[in-house]
Symmetry: C2
Subunit: 233 residues, 2 copies
DNA sequence: CTCGATAGACTTTTCGAAAATTATTGCCAT
DNA sequence: ATGGCAATAATTTTCGAAAAGTCTATCGAG
């Protein structure tokens, strides 16, 4: 979360991208030796990366039984979504109160970069998901970057990761790209215009409709999870 | 947080107790080899424990420079306190809505155990801090144990750890023992009586007055922190 | 006397094989 | 057939020495 300095710990970063990016099936065991092969790293290094992800709640760890990816559940989806709305609304309100021009510039910059990726994705329509997700994350992070409460933004980032895991597991991000971009633009304008109440409402709608879209495909992963669970025991 | 299975990983538990219990000075480097001696464990094991604490934000980690304990700052104290009030109020409200008899029993049980420790501390007045803190933590945990939002509970526990770090660094917990016990009793009664609004107010007062007591001694650790910081660079 | 570079000491980090633990398979008795 | 038991296989965990990196102190030049 705060400790991965990008170039430093490559394995942890790639592993996280795979967990978040739905490259790994949910609720399945993550065998240490498979991963040493997959990432070409020493067992100890992989173990360290796995432990780090476990501490963020992205995977589960049972002391002598190894690691497993988490199942997806509709209840947790809504838990994450509701809490995220609550915390992020608060964070944005505080950011609006104490944000300066540099903060506004960061938001506009991030919004621009998202739209760049989106236009690019019209031509080259595969595998932009990772790129788009990164810019999307940075946009929401920019919104919160003027919030004086470090703990609030930290929790928001954690929830953001988990929300992304659900999003990437169920829907193709490009599916509703146009709508989403309009929403982002509206949010950015409300925030920079210092309209806290409007911003909160837009943010709430934004996350709620995303969660609804995920939940619509939710039956799929619910049954999948059950199947996996049944096999596991 | 969730991954330490008590007896399993001894070093991490002891290290955490020392960080929370103010046995280690704030804002000072945690040298790997010192700790291997202190806990009589292999370097790798200590490193693992250190990384775990770093992921919880209890210590800082710079990739090739090792670990340092965190400084104490009044701003962070209030950040933790305010967010904790917000989240824990919400969690208690939800717990009140959906708690059953077993939940009520857990609260009463935990309250009883606290008072036991407090009466015991009248005779044997030293080194009960660790024991009292443990029971105190369990009481607040019991309050939240019927909250259906796992994420809210998890964040509350993280904040609870950090609040304890501040408390233990500045004031002797027994100092206001009688007042605190009355507060706990009042909170328990409000919660079990399903008076959500009252419970929220009491909880808020409880944490605010603790934070005030810590902040009153705050000048001490602020100057200490400055001295350490000046020496460090 | 100040500044910069180089050598040395000290810390952290990595790696891979050995050890401990758990899961699986095949077998025998009931 | 079924249920328990033992041996085997697979996997995780540990350990310590070697390697890479960082900080400090000394020495020489300007």
């Amino acid at each position: 979360m705060a400790s991965t300095s990008s170039a430093e710990n490559d394995v942890a970063a790639r592993l996280r991208a795979d967990v978040l990016g739905a490259s790994l099936p949910p609720a399945s065991p993550l065998r240490l030796m498979d991963l040493t092969g997959r990432y070409d790293a020493a067992p100890g290094k992989v173990r360290e990366a796995l432990l780090q992800l476990a501490s963020e709640g992205l995977i589960r760890f049972k002391p002598k039984h190894g690691f497993t990816s988490l199942p997806l559940s509709i209840e947790e989806l809504w838990d994450v979504t509701h809490l995220r709305i609550k915390l992020e609304s608060e964070a944005v309100t505080q950011a609006i109160e104490s944000g300066d021009e540099a903060w506004e510039a960061r938001i506009i910059s991030a919004l621009h970069l998202i739209s760049k990726v989106e236009t690019r994705s019209l031509k080259d329509r595969r595998a932009l998901d990772g790129d788009w997700s990164k810019k999307h994350r940075e946009f929401h992070s920019a919104l919160l970057s003027a919030c004086p409460s470090q703990w609030t933004v930290r929790f928001c980032e954690t929830l953001s990761d988990h929300a992304e895991r659900y999003r990437r597991h169920s829907i193709s991000v490009r599916a509703h790209a146009r709508d989403i971009h309009a929403e982002h633009k509206a949010i950015a304008e409300a925030v920079i215009g210092r309209k806290a109440k409007l911003a909160r409402e837009l943010l709430s709608d934004h996350y709620t409709s995303t969660a609804n879209a995920v939940a619509a495909n939710g039956d799929a992963f619910e049954t999948l999870a059950k199947k996996q669970r049944g096999r596991g025991r």
